[in-house]
Amino acid sequence: MSVKAETARKVKRSGGKRVLTFRSALKRYWVLYLILFVIMAYYCLFHYYTILLGIEMAFKNVKLGFSIADSPYIGFKNYSKIFQSRDIYSTVINTLRLSVSRLIWTFWPPIVLAIMLFDLSSRAYKRVCQTLVYIPHFFSWVVVYGIVYAVFSSDGFLNVLISALGFDKVNFLTSPPKFVPLLVGSQIWKGVGWGTILYFAALTNVNPELYEACKIDGAGPLRRTLVVTLPEMLPVVSFSLIMSLANILNNDFEQVLLYYNPSVYSVGDIIDTWVYREGLLNYQYSVGSAVSLLKAIVSMILVIGANFVSRRVSGRGMW
């Protein structure tokens, strides 16, 4: 029996739905399976293998100069070492402090800006402003740090202004209490415009008749925002809020690495920078892997949980 006839028979049997057996599919689509196989092999090496490597290293004592395979298993000793050291608690606290302030301060500005942009009466002006506020998003953190340096360094824009007004210069870049505001502030600067796109898309889908009905009922602009705009945005807002809660352990590692220096370690040292510094630069491969493994597991649980909650609450999830 030819392949085609075979397939036709199968299709008929399954009630019109095209379901192939693996064998006939392999015959027909072998090229596609081959491509998939190559891609999956790549992922096995670059993702699954590194995950396994991470697990292996977390339970071994890998010393500099020894291969991972030759190193002895030491059970949970790496973890007991981690929990005995003081560092880990302060890095967790720093991570959470940074994430929470990031969440609080970068969450609402895009929403407010999106509403304001949406309400602008001139269409041309709206487009110009949108185009311009997106720009900072495309710069690397290196460039953003360059700009921050130009503005906040001891003889930068702001300090010149401050000393011109007769006040003392402020050390923005090296003072611990200013570290988190500086970090979060530049995140706002970089992301506020770009963040509006998601909300703007939601706003353009709102039925304009709702606004007209509201106007006829005599509602002012603020009332309209409260009664129409915000409820219409709620699903998107709750989705992105839940997703940012899931990412509470993930800071912008590259950004912190650029901004921090030894004088602000007390507030700026987060889990990722600690793993990088102690694990890689100081060759404590095992301890570093142990910390990242723990972090990866916790974040995975958070993301899956958040997705579940989001599906329940807003009806949309990541997958």
Partner: protein, 324 residues
């Protein structure tokens, strides 16, 4: 009344009349509305300016001479006597040339690598009749949820002998499950008749992909390429981890080291050859104007590309947010 009027008109005139009526009947702005409009115009303008002023300041500084900077006590937004001094200086540095070339290299090849896996992968995953598809999909999605982390990745790159090689920017760039899923969603959204019509002409699976699906995917592919290209251009951390030869480092890392020389010592092998890393650029580049010129050079390509490709960027963001 409008009904009578509309009856005797052709479609175009009808539309015009309706539009005019709509305008006439538009709900008038109240005072409250006007105040609100003024407030939001002001606020949006201020926010837009806040996004732009730092950029103008940086660009202005890069064109300022040190003399003018001293005279004006470091406060220059737009220089009175613009000069190309700092650019002339940094263009003399060989490092920046190679850095620029490395950045271009990794952008071009990184995008190509991404497309090689993402487009066929996404196309195949969209084929619902393929047995085992769900399992394979799960295989890919899991990699988004859990990652190995920095240290195992470093070990892998080391054992692949990619340390200090320029290909370290390209080899890990093949995989992007997120982009693959976006392609998959777009292929699923295509009218299936088009793809199936090719079956009648006896097209093979590969022919269907190359001659039917890919031409329809061009806007999506453009958007994904742009995002990947920008990410590649902006990347620096992988280079900090894996590459210590200055001539193989991209612009972004060179600039980072210009600002933060203490972090520059990432010698994984422990051999303290710091000297080779501190090049002439860093020795002399302590002047703020030169630093700013470097920053401008790093953002230049993006500034040049942005106005033309803006719609693709936004298209990409929409697909990422709405569909993903």
């Amino acid at each position: 009344m409008t009904g009578d009027k509309l009856a005797g008109l052709d479609a175009k005139a009808k539309k015009e009349l309706l539009r005019r009526n709509h305008r006439k009947n538009r709900i008038r702005m109240t005072t409250e509305d006007r105040i609100y409009q003024i407030v939001i115009y002001l606020l949006v303008t201020i926010i837009t300016l806040l996004c732009l002023i730092p950029l103008i300041y940086v660009i202005g500084m890069s064109f300022t001479s040190l003399m003018e900077l001293n005279e004006k006590n470091n406060f220059v937004l737009i220089p009175m006597h613009p000069t190309l001094e700092s650019y002339k200086y940094i263009l003399k540095q060989a490092n920046l040339y190679t850095g620029f070339l490395v950045s271009v290299f990794r952008t071009v090849f990184g995008v190509m690598a991404m497309l090689v896996f993402v487009v066929p992968g996404g196309y195949i995953l969209a084929k619902h009749e393929l047995p085992g598809r769900r399992g394979i999909l799960l295989f890919f999605v899991i990699t988004m949820l859990i990652q190995g982390g920095t240290i195992p990745s470093y070990m892998l790159i080391k054992s692949l002998k990619l340390l200090d090689s320029i290909w370290v920017y390209v080899v890990p760039a093949f995989g992007s499950v997120y982009n693959m899923l976006i392609i998959k969603i777009f292929v699923e959204g295509m009218p299936q008749d088009i793809i199936e019509s090719a079956d009648l002409d006896g097209a093979t699976e590969l022919q269907k992909m190359f001659y039917i699906a890919i031409p329809l995917l061009v806007p999506t592919i453009c958007a994904l390429s742009l995002f990947t290209g920008v990410a590649q251009w902006n990347a620096w951390f992988d280079s900090l981890l894996y590459v210590k030869t200055v001539s193989k480092q991209p612009v972004q890392l060179l600039i980072h080291q210009l600002f933060n020389r203490t972090v520059a010592s990432t010698n994984m092998d422990g051999a303290g050859n710091m000297q080779s890393m501190i090049s002439d650029l860093y020795r002399a580049g302590t002047d703020i104007t030169i630093k700013m010129a470097c920053v401008v050079i790093a953002m230049l390509p993006i500034m040049c590309v942005y106005p033309f490709l803006q719609k693709y960027f936004i298209f990409g963001m929409y697909t990422g947010s709405v569909k993903g």
